[in-house]
């Protein structure tokens, strides 16, 4: 049985958006005949996550969270993975880190400690928000331009596509969305969001084996 572990904190508004959008990925995992280890809200803590990784050796690990160049965080910004401490727990797995900057230093360190592949962002990950949505992810017509490419990436990984293809498809979707935001007259604020989505596009990288798949 292939396992996919999700870390899905929900302690602030940005995490609420990632939490909402990743719900469909947990479902897709189960629908694809894989076992989802869904660690959400308070469950996205260091003790639980590390124990489950060591015990069940997930093939794919998905982190939502805040991050830095050397860390990925979970519930209430507890550091879960640190390049200085425990990146070896990602050994033999593909990791996707939807967090700021963690692919810049933590990613290469995890790979040098045996991670199959580490996909993430070498710069800050941006999410735009629709001011009319009243911070409801479901009603937000801007946030989806930022988060849907990430979901496409993870969906492809879950369905057995390799890291290189999954990132390629995600970047294609980002480009499509950047084109739209840069040119549409559908809503006047659109063009102001485009540079930040371009930042996500430029920052998305694979460390390790680009051919890796589950």
């Amino acid at each position: 049985m292939n396992y996919v572990l999700f870390s899905r904190p929900k302690h602030d508004i940005t995490m609420e958006y990632l939490f909402y959008y990743s719900k469909e990925l947990v479902k897709l995992t189960e629908d694809s005949g894989l076992k989802a280890i869904n660690l959400e809200k308070e469950g996205a803590n260091k003790k639980t996550i590390i124990e489950r990784i060591i015990k069940q050796k997930p093939n794919l690990i998905i982190f939502n969270g805040h991050g830095t160049a050397k860390t990925i965080c979970g519930h209430k910004n507890e550091v879960i993975i640190s390049g200085d401490e425990n990146s070896e727990v990602l050994k033999d797995a593909i990791t996707y880190s939807l967090s700021c900057s963690s692919a810049s230093k933590l990613g290469p360190e995890a790979v040098s400690n045996g991670a199959l592949a580490f996909i993430g962002y070498k710069f800050d990950f941006a999410i735009g928000r629709d001011p009319d949505s009243e911070a409801s992810p479901r009603r937000d017509k801007i946030a989806r331009f930022f988060i849907e490419p990430s979901n496409i990436l993870v969906s492809n990984l879950i369905q057995g596509k390799n890291a290189k293809y999954s990132v390629f498809i995600a970047k294609e979707k980002m480009r499509e969305n950047i084109d739209y935001l840069s040119t549409t007259k559908d809503f006047p604020d659109a063009i102001h969001y485009a540079p930040y989505l371009y930042g996500n596009h430029a920052g998305l990288v694979i460390r390790g084996n680009e051919e890796a798949s589950i």
Partner: protein
């Protein structure tokens, strides 16, 4: 002021001018451990005080402009 610093000041002014065109309703989450969405005035403040997020905003805006000029997008 060295030539390099002068160049950086010009880049900063270009970005600040772009940010001044942003509607006040604009919201973006970018590199904040508190998970807050920043508005136009927050972005301008970060760039003015040359914080790490301010530097990132400058880099993002300039990279986008360069890509746009090269015809990377429609």
């Amino acid at each position: 002021m060295t030539e390099e610093n002068e160049y950086k000041e010009i880049e900063k002014e270009i970005v600040l001018e772009r940010l001044r065109q942003v509607p006040p309703t604009f919201k973006i989450s970018l590199g904040s451990a508190e998970g807050k969405f920043m508005n136009r005035d927050d972005l301008i403040e970060e760039v003015k005080k040359e914080s790490s997020i301010g530097e990132e905003i400058i880099n993002i805006q300039l990279a986008y402009l360069r890509a746009f000029k090269k015809g990377a997008f429609s």
